[in-house]
């Protein structure tokens, strides 16, 4: 940490220039974060040494270095130290209001809403056409109870979209203004804004939740319930932040890098994720997390053999990690379903059973371990041996029930439980878990289709119709789901219902 040390040596920095804030104790911090911050610090020291004068050129050079220092701290969530950096940047670069904006963002993140509001108020008139600035002002003003100011800011955020050209509309701005309308109890106007936001982005959870609240106020109980379930786990989102790429550049650390690789995997960029993981694997000591994520990437690419190898290596590094065992069980199950492995199917399932058992031994308190044990039995059911199939079904049910009681949140748990109960002819339980599946995965049209089928089996015609209708709505009227709804309707009509 050369710069951190040099920075504290008064001999090599001009004494009259302000000193960058440093982290006093870096001993427990991630070395990657420290190295990144050190890089920004070196730039400030260099700017101080090379541009010590008050000329516009020197001030600009120093101001830029300070602003990058602020970004480095902010990108690594060290907001308290980003604040003085941005203050310096504002002083040295008065012509650049964007740093007042960043100051406000950090003040907000650090919990100082009064100062954040001051900053956003200062910058908003200077960046009238930057939607995110107006949106930040609107959100902060609303939290502080300044409803009128919030309304005006959100309206300006919407107005600013026209300056972007084309047909750009940010749903976030409609949702923000709708929140003001909710505060004012102007329900109709709020509903209109939220519906507009949802036409722009139908999967916008925050808008769904707020629409659920508004529909309840307007007396539409059914619509409210549907929207509230779709809106669960929402969080406020702002229009695009122009500094996002710069912040990404300064983001460092094992945890944050692994987080971004997780996002890459989730978004389908498997090769990109694998490349990034390979870099981390080369830089770090052997790590269970890295190997397990690499295994996931290979699974996504369909290379189960390689995925299994990596997990076996991971289990040697950390033999107590139950997640490695559950991941291994999943890989083995996937391998067993490959027709190329038909001859080895029972052997692979037996191995999967062993690893799932090991996971339970390692973490009997964790519902997921029981879930995977149940899954192994469910997948391993042999339809040619009714007696063994019955026994496997019972073991699967017992394990799934245990998983449920232990708070397992695997998305397929409820569906599997419903299926097992359906196989056993226990219709009431089947419907209970089919309903729970829709509550847990309201965005999944197949969950609604499953519920519709379950209700049809139970002769609950209206309930089946309702679920099929929801399935179509959730799927955005996907042809296969609409076809299911039509088939159901035809069957009901034929039966005189």
């Amino acid at each position: 940490m050369l710069a951190l040390a040099a920075h504290q040596d008064p001999g090599i920095r001009p004494p009259e220039l302000p000193t960058p804030p440093i982290i006093e104790d870096i001993s427990r911090m991630d070395p990657e974060v420290v190295a990144t911050i050190d890089r920004a610090l070196q730039d400030v020291i260099k700017a101080n040494l090379e541009h010590p004068e008050e000329s516009p050129v020197d001030r600009t050079a120093r101001g830029q270095a300070w602003s990058q220092m602020g970004l480095a701290y902010e990108a690594n969530t060290i907001w308290s130290l980003a604040l003085p950096c941005y203050k310096q940047a504002i002083e040295l670069l008065p012509q650049k209001p964007e740093w007042i904006y960043r100051l406000g963002v950090c003040q907000h993140a650090a919990g100082d809403l009064l100062k954040a509001l001051e900053s956003f108020r200062a910058v908003a008139p200077r960046l009238m056409n930057t939607a995110v600035v107006q949106a930040r002002l609107g959100e902060t003003a609303l939290i502080m109870g300044e409803t009128k100011e919030a309304e005006s800011a959100w309206r300006q955020a919407i107005a600013s979209e026209a300056k972007l050209g084309g047909d750009i509309r940010f749903p976030e701005n409609r949702v923000g203004l709708a929140q003001v309308m909710i505060e004012k109890e102007s329900w109709e106007e709020a509903a209109a804004l939220l519906r507009e936001a949802l036409t722009i982005n139908p999967a916008y959870t925050h808008a769904h939740y707020l629409l659920g609240l508004v529909l309840a106020e307007l007396g539409d109980e059914e619509g409210s319930s549907f929207e509230l379930k779709r809106g669960l786990n929402a969080f406020p989102v702002f229009p695009p932040d122009p500094h996002r790429p710069l912040l990404a550049k300064w983001t460092a650390g094992f945890g944050k890098r692994m987080g971004s690789i997780e996002n890459m995997l989730a978004s389908g960029d498997t090769n990109g994720a694998l490349a990034a993981l390979t870099v981390i694997r080369a830089e770090h000591e052997p790590s269970m997390q890295v190997l397990n994520m690499m295994s996931r990437a290979h699974q996504q690419l369909g290379d189960h053999e390689q995925a299994l190898k990596l997990l076996e290596e991971s289990a040697l590094i950390d033999p107590k990690a139950y997640t490695t065992q559950t991941d291994m069980a999943v890989v083995l199950l996937n391998m067993s379903s490959n027709p190329a492995n038909a001859a080895r199917r029972m052997e692979l399932i037996a191995r999967a059973r062993t690893t799932a058992d090991k996971a339970i031994q390692l973490a009997p308190h964790i519902g997921r371990t029981w879930y995977y044990r149940g899954l192994v039995e469910q997948v391993g059911i042999d339809p040619n041996d009714p007696e063994a199939a019955k026994q496997s079904g019972q073991i699967a049910l017992a394990n799934m029930q245990r998983a449920h009681m232990l708070g397992c949140t695997e998305p397929q748990l409820f569906e599997l439980l419903a299926q097992i109960y359906a196989n056993q002819g226990k219709h009431r339980e089947m419907e209970k878990f089919a309903l729970a599946h829709t509550a847990h995965s309201p965005e999944n049209p197949m969950a609604w289709v499953f519920l519709a089928r379950a209700r049809y089996t139970m002769s609950n015609w209206d309930g089946a119709r309702q679920a099929a209708k929801h399935a179509s709505a959730v799927s955005g009227n996907a042809p296969n789901v609409v076809a299911f709804q039509e088939q159901l309707e035809a069957a009901l009509k034929q039966a005189g219902h």
Partner: protein
Amino acid sequence: MLSPSKNNSKPPSSRRDTRYVQLSIILLTSIVAVQDQAPAPWFTEIGEAAGFSFSHVSGARGEYWFPEIMGGGVGLLDYDGDGLLDIYCVQSGYLPNAEGDQPDSPPNQLFRNLGIDQETGLPHFEDVTELVGVGDTKYGMGIACGDYDRDGDMDLFVTNVGVNVLYRNEGPDKQGIVRFKDITKTSGTEDVRWATSAAFLDADGDRDLDLFVVNNLLWHASTETACFNYFSERDYCSPNNYNAASPDALFIMGRTRFQDRTATSGLDAAFGNGLGVAPADYNQDGKVDVYVANDATPNNLWHNKGRGKYIDKGLLLGCAVNGNGTPEAGMGVQWVDVDQDGDLDLFMTHLRRETNTFYMNRRGRFTDKTNATGMNAASLKYTGFGMGFHDYDLDGQLDLYVVNGAVQAWRQEEVFAEDPYAEPNHLFRGMGSTRFEAIANGGEAEHTAGTSRGAAFGDIDNDGDVDVVYVDRDGRAKLLLNNATGHWIGFRMLDKRGDEVPGAMVGVTHGGKTTWRLADPAYSYLASNDPRAHFGLGSSDEIEGISVRWPSSEIEEFAPLTSGAYHVLREGRGLDHK
């Protein structure tokens, strides 16, 4: 039992004169010049001077095991029936490692309230833990108090990481010493999961007390994982890192023992990382509902369908997640009529960067009206745990006290203490309607900070104002004596049999306006509180009417009673029993 006849109050103008006479002289001579600028502190911390000497031990050894950052609890109960609130502190201690080995831990402690000491003029306490037999040494969390066996004395339920403990109050022995007996094994309440808050309530409407236990997550040393704070340093995890939320439990009182009815009651249908609990009949249908504050998962409003059957209506009624649809880190919780319209609103404390959230009850549906409270700027900075709305300054408006303490180290611009989790507490003065303003130093003379967790509220010296007891993680528990003077009235609620009854709503009409308070000890965080209803009366001491909505939802009117005293209101003994 708290005695209504024991009225230690003096006329408002003369209260505390003897107690603080020396202090007043010193203050007068030293700060007379700045008297106008320095408002008198609302509270004075007297723990050590009062012989209340509980020190919390989290057992933290640098491994960042999650339960270490969540304890300890505190309860106020009159265990010996002398009319004075005693203090029970729940100790954490040392967690068992992955192999199940657990170092010896210090015990929970019970401090008996001996009344006002003639020399100091302060309440004073003695540690009676060993004498009465309530020194559990498991890794403790919270406490619930109630007379579950209806024998006229307070029993104790202690929650743990591991098996919870039910202490039955056996009453005085031949020497006149009240003793407790650990009846966990035979009580039917044995449960090995990590429980946090708990409440005694009549879940099935049969007029005896059942037990609701909030569980957090299924923790075991082997499930720990490495987590990092905002500074990329090793620190405590979020509960969601464990992906192991645990259903809450309902134990229904049978003839002689409790029965676990969790599965048949419907409580297994939804659950989260439970921390706070508050029972109340929010929709006034005569059945006790239960609100559970969950940590980083949606909260549950367990709507009572009757006969001990529950359904979670939190999401559909607008109080599972905040106004944005975001689950918050629910810690402390209270049902309280903040807007004084006769129904119960909800208030919850949360993590830093989340507001403490106010859900206004609007005809049985809840709306997040936090932005209108004026408390956001203060509460977003810190992590709130124990909390209590009371009229601390007796001006007729509800105020709010919140104890704070971080769960991840946070290098703020302001440094409060060596403890990286320490934060100052908050006192908010009620300004009328639903607006509040922060009072400097949390109402104390000097700025203090700690990693505060459980907080209990009650009138410890029976002088007519509400005092505060709270536990700081790895610190000394504090007793804040309220310095208020003014008009007040208080009530102890008894059912037709003469048993203490939680869950009654009391309405006092004065100055042409009726204000309502819920009399129930179960609120805040890991706490049990003074079960009495307390009212500040502002400038008017004239009581025009008293109404009670009993847990059955029957409403009963009582004749106006004199202010400046605690009174018993007994079901069926009012003016107009309906």
